[in-house]
């Protein structure tokens, strides 16, 4: 019979970190909303980029607003990922991670990560379309091989957990 793994500091740290990230993620909502609706952002953006009112500048402002709106869409998606990760970490802490609920959670995370990758491509495309040689816009968005590998890995992990849960069920009835 294998010995149970010794308690690790990684799990409490992961739990605390995920809780902080959930709060920070929701804190982004008022920030983005303020950028979109409250602040006199057009003048602010023009000033930040050193632009004068022109069709190019208007396109830049419009593009930035679209990116901010897409960022707002990302907030609930990030929440879905973080909340499920937190639940998975809690099951690991409880010593019973191979349950079908975790397989379902990972499957959901994989679909959300896929959606976030698509969102990132759209944001990258917008950034590219509003970027000009005079005022280049560098955003960490667009196609990312690492991001798509993470999606694939998460779908695979979901499958591994589903199989693990079945094996765990079998083991539960063994004496």
């Amino acid at each position: 019979m294998s010995k149970p793994a010794p308690p690790s500091a990684a799990l409490p740290i992961a739990h605390a970190l995920l809780r902080i990230l959930i709060i920070l993620n929701w804190a982004m909502v008022p920030v983005i909303l303020a950028l979109l609706f409250l602040l006199p952002n057009e003048q602010w953006i023009l000033k930040a980029f050193g632009l004068f009112p022109s069709p190019d500048a208007a396109r830049l402002v419009m593009g930035m607003r679209a990116i901010a709106a897409l960022g707002l869409v990302g907030v609930p998606l990030n929440f879905v990922v973080l909340k499920r990760l937190l639940a998975i970490v809690d099951t690991v802490r409880a010593g019973d991670p191979f349950v079908s609920a975790n397989a379902t959670r990972l499957q959901t995370i994989a679909w959300v990560l896929l959606t976030l990758q698509l969102l990132s491509i759209v944001i990258g495309a917008i950034a590219k379309s509003i970027s000009t040689p005079a005022h280049p816009l560098h955003l960490d968005a667009g196609f990312s091989i690492n991001g798509w590998l993470a999606v694939l890995l998460t779908f695979l992990l979901a499958r591994v957990f589903a199989e693990g849960a079945l094996m765990r069920d079998d083991l539960a009835g063994m004496v």
Binding site: D170, A172, G173, M174, V175
Partner: protein, 71 residues
């Protein structure tokens, strides 16, 4: 399940309680109860070995195939 566990009969024949058997083979009473009531889905050879040794019986004395009747 078509496999019946005859642990109750064996214990009765040997005038032994489930708790005594659990102590003798180093198994938890809860797990032994699962086996006795036919709720177990699988049995380890090591468990079978320990029970047969403690009760001086053969695996066939403990397990029996019984045809399931259609309701």
């Amino acid at each position: 399940m078509a496999i019946a566990v005859k642990l109750d009969d064996l214990l009765h024949d040997r005038r032994m309680t489930l708790t005594e058997l659990a102590d003798r083979i180093g198994m938890t009473l809860a797990n032994l109860s699962i086996l006795k009531t036919g709720k177990a889905r699988a049995i380890r050879f090591s468990t079978l070995d320990a029970i047969c040794e403690a009760l001086s019986c053969q695996p066939g004395d403990l397990l029996r195939f019984e045809e399931e009747r259609e309701p």
